[in-house]
Amino acid sequence: DVKVTQSSRYLVKRTGEKVFLECVQDMDHENMFWYRQDPGLGLRLIYFSYDVKMKEKGDIPEGYSVSREKKERFSLILESASTNQTSMYLCASSPSQYSPLHFGNGTRLTVT
């Protein structure tokens, strides 16, 4: 079974802090994704990566950056957290095009 592990289930951070959300997958998948889930807005893609050190912007990249130094690990970085970044963050991976996305259980981030 594919396992996508997000390091924290809940995080509370202060405005202006630098925040790291970590995600690890154990199935050697090429593709990794960060989505943000908000009520009434569904899942919105922040960034994705097709390979180590490669990244592409999704639909809402502003205020975020990512890092993929190893194939199994994809980090989402909030350079200076703001209250409008309070949300559920979901990491996903997939082996190739048309393959299902495998999601982690999410990190609920609160920025106060």
Partner: protein, 113 residues
């Protein structure tokens, strides 16, 4: 043109009834339409998916109906069970060679005994 519109936002169905969730898209070049199911506290998981060259796909109690001319697709859950209570997301893949999915806004389904 890259949006996927999903309705209703929430749905309450009695056990044994049929649950129907609808999605509409604008870009006729979308080439893959999956549905994801999310239980509370969990990430979404693929439920069923369809390509635009077929009009219907059935897996157990779950059926996708696809209307290419109307640019609509829907999920039907037959004999709905309390265990089907979850949030459902439709999605569509843009026509450029990537794994990127565009998701609908989600439907919270509650099935009561």
């Amino acid at each position: 043109q890259q949006q996927v519109k999903q309705s209703p936002q929430s749905l309450i169905v009695q056990k044994g009834g049929i649950s129907i969730i609808n999605c509409a898209y604008e870009n006729t070049a979308f080439d893959y339409f999956p549905w994801y199911q999310q239980f509370p506290g969990k990430g979404p998981a693929l439920l069923i998916a369809i390509r635009p060259d077929v009009s219907e796909k059935k897996e157990g109690r779950f059926t996708i109906s696809f209307n290419k001319s109307a640019k609509q697709f829907s999920l039907h859950i037959m004999d709905s069970q309390p265990g089907d209570s979850a949030t459902y997301f439709c999605a569509a893949r843009p026509p450029y060679n990537t794994d990127k999915l565009i998701f609908g806004t989600g439907t919270r389904l509650q099935v009561f005994p």
